[in-house]
Symmetry: C2
Subunit: 183 residues, 2 copies
DNA sequence: GAAGGCATGTAAATCGTTACATGATTTA
DNA sequence: TAAATCATGTAACGATTTACATGCCTTC
């Protein structure tokens, strides 16, 4: 059978941890995996239909007089596909597009002052991400304690560490460049 | 005027540091920025033509009897566009797609053994990148010393540190998971 | 009764990769 | 002389984003 598409992977995983509708999956992605695996409505809704055609998820229209919603759940085949992907030894996708680093790479075209300004902007970005992640941390810890999901919480802590590392690297480069100018 | 496209940015920067042909630009990208800003022939050649139409680069067919090649150089406007982008305060693009992290996020669906296997595979990937970058390091240092470009070299060192950090995080997570199983 | 959040979906446009086609020159 | 490398380019496909359209329900 065909491997899961990029969006299919995050959808199956999100359904497994209790997200039921396309809207809910999108909101969960934006809160959690967005920093390393994004997905938009334009991908999610069509992909849900394809996954249903392939028999990996089942849909049920919400019964009562509430809002119209289509709730999805994993089939046996869907659980197997998710587990198969999680344990497969295929080469792992790793793609980064980091404009701060690219500008830094070309910073020989800049004055030291301009290079420092660039680094400060890059660092500001990483510090913002750290703040946003720290803000989610208590919610994630609560879910960790109450619902027994450990790995989303560990991932969040890893994200905080990563962006702290990147911000720290910017700071080190700032002083590296600054010190050269006052010998 | 329109902002530079993603590929336009790396092309102008690469021409400035002495890459002259589309082929040469592609090779330089693959050697250096690929880990944080990739580009393929399918983007590079058409984009070079667009940049020339916009007056940011100039082309010259190679004169002598050698291989057919089109050599590009920056115009005044091109230098200004490059500098304008490098110093612009537009929000910096930062996009990551990390399948190892995504799998880790969903690893509550795995046994501890499977989770450790996943982490080892992720770590192996980061260690490979570190090795490849270390292999380039002497070449990059030579360029740094001879041609006076500092920032590509600093970027390389940063990349090594980053992937060492990521590999180290994997290792810490491995022992975190392992220790829980033998109390 | 207005605003905001819940909810589903599509169309168009853009972006990017991959694979292919072509051919010259250099090196082993 | 065969293989590797230099060199340019396009077509097809797939992935993704953005913007738009629609409407219900809950809360203020």
């Amino acid at each position: 059978m065909e491997p899961l598409s990029a969006t299919g992977r995050v959808i199956l995983g999100m359904i497994r941890i209790g997200r039921r509708t396309g809207y809910d999956i999108k909101a969960a992605v934006d809160r959690s995996t967005r920093f390393f695996w994004a997905a938009s409505y334009g991908q999610i809704y069509p992909e849900l239909k394809r996954l249903e055609e392939r028999g990996l998820v089942e849909s049920a229209a919400s019964p009562d007089g509430g809002r119209r919603r289509t709730e999805y759940s994993l089939t046996k085949a869907g659980e197997a596909a998710l587990h198969g992907w999680l344990t497969s030894s295929e080469e792992l996708v790793y793609e980064l597009r980091d404009e701060g680093l690219l500008k830094f790479f070309f910073a020989d075209a800049l004055s030291p002052e301009e290079a420092v300004t660039l680094l400060r902007a890059t660092r500001a970005h990483h510090e913002e991400v750290v703040q946003r992640l720290r803000a989610i941390e208590p919610v994630a810890r609560a879910k960790h304690d109450e619902q027994g999901f450990r790995f989303p919480y560990l991932t969040l802590l890893g994200g905080i560490e990563l962006h702290e590392f990147l911000g720290g690297w910017c700071r080190r480069m700032e002083s590296e460049i600054t010190k050269e100018r006052t010998p």
